[in-house]
């Protein structure tokens, strides 16, 4: 006690050491108790990536590319994500959006794999190639694509020895039809609210004329 009152320097030193030890313990405990599993930023990037698992970026799947982006890889290597995906990644990482790297492919319309079943020989090569298990079949049995599960990565097209797989764009149906945004600043008949497309209500006589 006397030492402390007698020498303010050692008192200060002790106080600092004590505080340091205390906070060290708290931080040490927190680092164990509140440990984050995995890399949270990689998870966020992975959530933006389209999960096509196509490998066009040069990585075996979306998650590895997300981890590579964390490690400093450019964000413009994902053609299925397209410009919108790059924009979202740029927003998340607070970097400038850059145009899609054409080396890895171009943004294409979503398509799903389709197996021409009469040509299929049942080699199971496509089943092994599919990253999301969306192809059903067995050896020497015809295979087929579960189109709801297909991500359109086209990894199954190449391994097919008889070229019976093709990528087909999803057909527009009444169920998935939707309005498009009007073209701003253009006087287009399709832009009025109530009675769009006046010329299409014509009768057969008009069309013949």
């Amino acid at each position: 006690m006397e030492l402390l009152t007698g020498s303010p320097f050692s008192a200060a030193l002790l106080a600092m050491l004590g505080l340091g030890a205390l906070f060290g313990c708290i931080l040490g405990y927190a680092s164990i108790r509140f440990r984050a599993e995995g890399n949270p930023i990689a998870d966020q990037i992975n959530a933006i990536l389209p999960q096509t698992q196509c490998g066009q970026c040069g990585y075996p799947g979306c998650r590895p590319y997300a981890e590579a982006i964390v490690a400093g890889e450019p964000i413009n290597k994902c053609p299925p994500g397209g410009e919108a995906g790059i924009q979202a990644l740029a927003d998340l990482l607070d970097v400038e959006p850059i145009p899609l790297d054409a080396e890895h492919g171009e943004e294409a319309e979503t398509a799903v794999a389709f197996i021409i079943e009469e040509d299929c020989i049942g080699c199971t090569k496509c089943i092994q190639a599919c990253p999301v298990d969306a192809i059903l079949g067995a050896a020497k049995q015809m295979h087929t694509v579960i189109s709801d599960e297909c991500t359109g990565c086209d990894l199954c097209v190449e391994p097919c020895p008889v070229d019976c797989i093709e990528m087909r764009p999803l057909p527009k149906t009444l169920a998935n039809w939707h309005w498009d945004l009007p073209v701003a600043g253009l006087s287009d008949v399709s832009q009025i609210i109530a009675t769009d497309r006046p010329n299409e209500g014509r009768s057969n006589e008009d069309r013949a004329a």
Binding site: C62, H178, D180, P182, A194, T195, E200, R202
Partner: protein, 627 residues
């Protein structure tokens, strides 16, 4: 008398109802061919159960009940089931059943409910579904789906919508004027099913004849009221009408049922009446034909599936060039891809405007932020903000600004001085948000499947690796065994030596055996003494002693007789020696008798003699080693 409330915003467009409400409802002629889209409502379509060539009668069900069913409006023959133009904003084709009518209009035997008041409400609801009743107001939601399920909480208030707020349309107006009693009968049935505390019939004040007819038909029913309120567009919107009549607002993203309200259209009430009282499915509806391109305008009771052109012809249709054909009113209707489209359950109006009747679309100008759209919006949204977000495709903020509460009434576009097609933006944005949600869900699913596959591959690889390691270990163990006895011959020699050593030790162990025997004999005699001394007072003790004696005797018997084994071994060796000696003498005799004619025989005999001698020597050596 209930005082109606008001809702935010709204507009007052030119009504022009007088164009079509001057004549009574006419019955439209039966067309030669009817085209019945299988999907005329909101929800999945049902499966078609008829096939081409089938003859059907009026009222016959053409689909199963996996969706809202479609019925034959009259008798005739099914000539095709194929994709035809349907009244849909996309202008795409849809699956239709094509019925060539025979003009006889023969019907199936209808099965009415004799006394609906005594009927089970759930049965009545099923009846309404089987009758194919979709809401006839315009949206086409299956009426039966809105009704409370048995055991569920019924609504407090049943609202009957006779508002008909959109310009031009007069179908509900005429229906109320002419068939008020049928409407009230339908409401009676709905009230019996839903058991509401009150029934409110809402009508705008621009339909005095309809109001009078309805008031007269309702009569003095308790807790029923015909509520009249000022005309304003879009007071006929479900949420707006609820607010006008009750002052309550349907919560954002909620349904009227959540605040205890059930809403049905007057046309639906008539369909309900027909389905229960007559047993007639929904096969016709009242449709307004109006617009300056039709001179004999009015309302028609028309069979579903009638091509629009046939109906227009009955209203003396004089098309201009180009001619627009709009299904619905000028605010919410949309242009038909073709006049071959059929009348469906939701076709409340066909509008064929003359030249200049509807404002031509003008070029959209820049938004000047005047705020008129926000004042007009009946859903109290911020249309201008939504417009900016829609243009920048900011889906998140669109949702934050309650895009999905937009009822697409078009009031904002109507008031916009810059003629911006605002509703078009909202429709597209709604689709974009839905699409984005679907994509996110699909990506999530793909991620899960990918990860599950990754995990499976890793597990399989690990299993393979484990198996390989196990095989490797087994192989190494085998190899180690081999190195221990590298040479089988050596191993055999070693085994022989070990055996010999054991035999050597047997001599020593013989002494042990003798000692063991002595011990056991001592134990045996002791046990026998104890058994003799036992007085038999405790049977268990006696039994234990007897058992001890028996086991000891057995052990003694098991012990080998050492001297006997030794003698057997040595006698075996002697026998062998004698045998070999006999064989040797025989071989020598043979060799002596051999005439040497065959050198190989001689050589073989000599070899036999030599080997036998060697064996004899080895045996002698062994004996020496033993001794």
């Amino acid at each position: 008398m209930r005082r109606p409330h008001d809702f935010h915003g709204g507009i007052y467009p030119l009504e022009r109802k007088e164009l079509s409400n001057q004549r009574e409802i006419r019955r439209a002629k039966i067309s030669r061919q009817l085209v019945l889209p299988i999907s005329q409502h909101i929800g999945p379509p049902a499966k078609v159960t008829v096939s081409t060539g089938d003859r059907v009668l009026g009222g016959q069900r053409l689909t199963d009940l996996s969706g809202l069913p479609v019925h034959a409006p009259t008798s005739g023959t099914i000539t095709a089931i194929e994709d035809r133009p349907i009244p849909h904003v996309s202008g795409m084709l849809g699956r239709c059943i094509v019925l060539d009518t025979d003009g006889e209009d023969t019907w199936i035997d209808l099965d009415p409910v004799a006394d609906y008041r005594g009927a089970d409400p759930q049965k009545l609801i099923d009846r309404l579904f089987e009758a194919g009743i979709a809401g006839l107001g315009g949206a086409g939601f299956p009426a039966a789906r809105k009704l409370p399920r048995a055991g569920g909480n019924g609504p407090e208030t049943l609202i009957i919508n006779g508002t008909e707020c959109e310009p031009y349309i007069t179908a509900d107006d005429l229906l109320m004027r002419e068939q008020a009693h049928r409407i009230v009968e339908g409401i009676d049935i709905l009230a019996h099913i839903a058991e509401p505390k009150e029934v409110l019939i809402g009508i705008e004040d621009n339909k005095p004849e309809a109001i009078a007819a309805m008031k007269q038909a309702v009569g003095d029913r308790d807790h029923w009221e015909v509520v009249v309120f000022p005309t304003k567009y879009p007071s006929g919107g479900e949420k707006q009408l609820i607010e006008i009549l009750t002052g309550k607002q349907v919560p954002s993203g909620g349904l009227p049922a959540h605040i205890g309200i059930l809403c049905q259209n007057v046309g639906t009430a008539v369909a309900v009446r027909d389905a229960i009282v007559d047993g007639r499915p929904l096969v016709s509806r009242v449709t307004t034909v109006t617009g300056e391109s039709a001179t004999d305008r009015g309302n028609f009771d028309v069979l579903l599936g009638t091509p629009m052109r046939d109906l227009l012809e009955q209203a003396d249709y004089q098309p201009t060039k180009p001619q627009r054909l709009v299904m619905g009113g000028p605010m919410m209707g949309f242009t038909m891809p073709s006049d071959e489209c059929p009348i469906v359950k939701t076709t409340n109006c066909l509008l064929v405007p003359g030249k200049g009747e509807l404002a031509d679309p003008a070029a959209a100008q820049a938004c000047i932020r005047c705020g008129m759209c926000a004042e007009a919006c009946p859903a109290e949204l911020l249309p201008q903000q939504l417009y900016w977000f829609a243009r920048s495709k900011d889906l998140e903020r669109l949702e934050e600004h309650h895009l999905f509460d937009c009822i697409e009434c078009g009031a904002c576009s109507y008031v916009c001085p810059s003629r911006i097609p605002l509703v078009q933006y909202y429709r597209a944005s709604k689709a974009a948000v839905r699409e984005h949600q679907a994509e996110t869900m699909k990506a999530e699913q793909a991620r899960e499947r990918f990860e599950a596959r990754q995990e499976r591959m890793e597990r399989l690889a690990a299993e393979k690796e484990a198996k390989r390691a196990a095989r490797k270990r087994a192989a190494m163990a085998k190899a180690a065994d081999k190195t221990d006895g590298e040479d089988p011959i050596k191993a055999a020699i070693e085994r022989a030596q070990a055996k010999k050593a054991a035999q050597m030790a047997a001599g020593a162990s013989a002494n042990d055996d003798v000692e063991k025997r002595k011990k056991i004999e001592a134990r045996l005699s002791k046990a026998r003494e104890k058994l003799a001394a036992d007085d038999g007072s405790d049977p268990t003790i006696t039994a234990a002693l007897q058992k001890a004696v028996a086991t000891t005797e057995q052990k003694l018997a098991e012990l080998p007789e050492p001297s006997a084994a030794d003698s057997a071994d040595s006698s075996g060796a002697d026998a062998q020696r004698q045998k070999i000696e006999v064989r040797l003498s025989k071989a020598r005799e043979k060799l002596a008798a051999d005439d040497g004619s065959n050198p190989t025989v001689t050589a073989a005999l000599e070899k036999a003699v030599a080997t036998t001698e060697a064996k004899l020597d080895a045996l002698a050596g062994k004996d020496e080693a033993v001794s």
